[in-house]
């Protein structure tokens, strides 16, 4: 241990390198990155890196930075505190009454983290060195766009037709029970109107604003129009074309066209 330290301190090259590290602290992607760089100075396989030596190097680095009045980000200081703790654990004989992982376990984990980060760096470099689309190999320069035509086919059978008519005629038998429907604003009409108007509205708008002229007053007509327009707005939400919001119970209901999710064509 002392031999290591002596060799280390004696090496002018290493000290110069540490100073270069400090000047370049901006270039490091966090304390783990810095530790990885420091561990490379040990010139050993990352699996055999001396974590104790590494901890000391790091603490020296932080100390030097402090002397040079270089502001270190908080995570560098957190790492320094953790490494100081690790160092004490590694140096002191294990206390059998103490809970938690041993210094060796913690050191092994740090070595694993460094090895893993190093391995990922290498993997990233190998990945970026691969033949790349648009640089080394190419897709067709003149793709022929596939034309897409969308066609909606409506189906109905004769049976549907007959049943519909039969239903209407059967209902006629019960006509006496029918409502007076003069002041009814049909749902289909509301849906149609809402869909069209929504196309021109980019932002949240009060649902009441979508009522057709002539139905906005008070009483039955407004109720019918409001009910149909509300039902139509629910249908549009269900179809993914609109969004609804209400700030609290009985507050006005607001509607807006649903924005396409990011990345949608």
């Amino acid at each position: 241990m002392t031999a290591e330290e002596g060799a280390d301190a004696g090496s002018v090259a290493v000290r110069l390198q540490s100073e270069a590290l400090i000047v370049d602290v901006e270039g490091y992607e966090g304390p783990l990155d810095l530790l990885l760089t420091l561990s490379r100075q040990q010139k050993v396989d990352l699996r055999r890196v001396s974590v104790l030596q590494l901890a000391e190097q790091y603490l020296r680095f932080v100390e030097a930075a402090r002397k040079l009045r270089i502001e270190l980000a908080a995570d560098y200081l957190v790492m320094a505190a953790w490494l100081a703790f690790l160092k004490s654990r590694l140096l002191l004989p294990p206390d059998p009454t103490e809970e938690g992982p041993s210094g060796e376990e913690l050191a092994a984990h740090l070595a694993f983290q460094l090895e893993r980060l190093g391995a990922m760096r290498e993997a990233a470099a190998r990945l970026m060195a691969r033949d790349r689309l648009g640089r080394d190999f190419f897709a067709r320069g003149t793709p022929e766009t596939v034309s897409i035509s969308r066609r909606t086919q409506y189906t109905a059978t004769l049976l549907d037709l007959l049943q519909a008519y039969a239903r209407l005629r059967t209902r006629d038998d019960f006509r006496p029970y029918a409502f007076d429907r003069t002041d009814v604003y049909p749902l289909e009409t509301a849906l149609e109107r809402l869909r069209e108007m929504l196309g021109h509205s980019g932002t949240w708008a009060d649902l009441a604003g979508f009522l057709p002229p002539g139905w906005r007053g008070a009483g039955k007509k407004r109720r019918s129009a409001l009910a149909s327009t509300f039902a139509a707005s629910l249908e549009l939400v269900k179809q993914g074309q609109a969004e609804l919001r209400q700030s609290e119970t009985f507050a006005p209901i607001h509607l807006r066209p649903r924005l396409k999710p990011r990345g949608a064509p």
Binding site: A139, R140, L158
Partner: protein, 216 residues
């Protein structure tokens, strides 16, 4: 630039041109990746010196003959193009089948049984307003069309069913539509007897039927 190229072309190459098969590969890749057709001159400028582009193009052309893509002459240039007989593959039609809405099928049924019929009459029979969208949809499907105007105040338009409607529902003529009695017998109507008094729309129906069949 031009002079430099000229000099280069005049200088005998230090290296022999690649084999013809390799030249063919290069042209294949270039034409595939290029956004524009390429002329022999452009290809020659990209290929190693001493390459014989016209010959390589001939080889490539015969290699692709009868394939799904072929080497086509486009103006002064050459390009890869889909074989003309496979053009249909580049078109994609998405057919979405939807059931006709209840409002639409009811409206259609009323028009079929009562034609020529006005919108007001349809609304009276259905008991609810008929939205414009419903009628438009049926018009778009070409299952109904506009008939003669009614000679009544306001001269409202009437609707009638079309040939296409008959095709769709496998009918030879609108007269083939089963009557109420048959509907009832087929169990499509409750067996409850119809109200004894003829309704307004029953009066209209025969008139409509006359209107429909007068010209056939």
């Amino acid at each position: 630039m031009t002079t430099e190229n000229d000099t280069a072309a005049a200088t005998p190459s230090l290296f022999p041109a690649p084999p013809m098969a390799e030249q063919e590969r290069m042209i294949e890749a270039l034409l595939f990746a290029s956004a524009e057709p390429m002329s022999v001159a452009e290809l020659s400028a990209r290929l190693p010196q001493g390459s014989d582009v016209p010959e390589a193009l001939q080889h490539l052309r015969s290699r692709y003959s009868g394939r799904g893509v072929h080497l086509a002459r486009v103006g002064d240039g050459w390009a890869m193009r889909t074989a003309p007989d496979l053009g249909w593959l580049m078109h994609k039609e998405q057919v979405e089948t939807r059931r006709l809405s209840r409002a639409a099928i009811e409206t259609l049924a009323i028009i079929a049984y009562h034609q020529p019929v006005t919108r007001a009459e349809i609304e009276e029979i259905r008991g609810v307003a008929v939205s414009r969208g419903t009628v438009d949809q049926l018009l778009e499907l070409e299952w109904i069309r506009l008939g003669r105007r009614r000679m009544t105040p306001g001269r409202p338009v009437t609707f009638v069913v079309t040939e296409r409607f008959l095709d769709q529902f496998g009918l030879e003529s609108p007269r083939d539509l089963p009557g109420l009695k048959e509907l009832r017998e087929a169990g499509l109507l409750d067996s409850r007897p119809m109200p004894g008094t003829p309704r307004e729309d029953d009066e209209d129906a025969p008139e409509g039927q006359v209107g429909l069949f007068e010209d056939d």
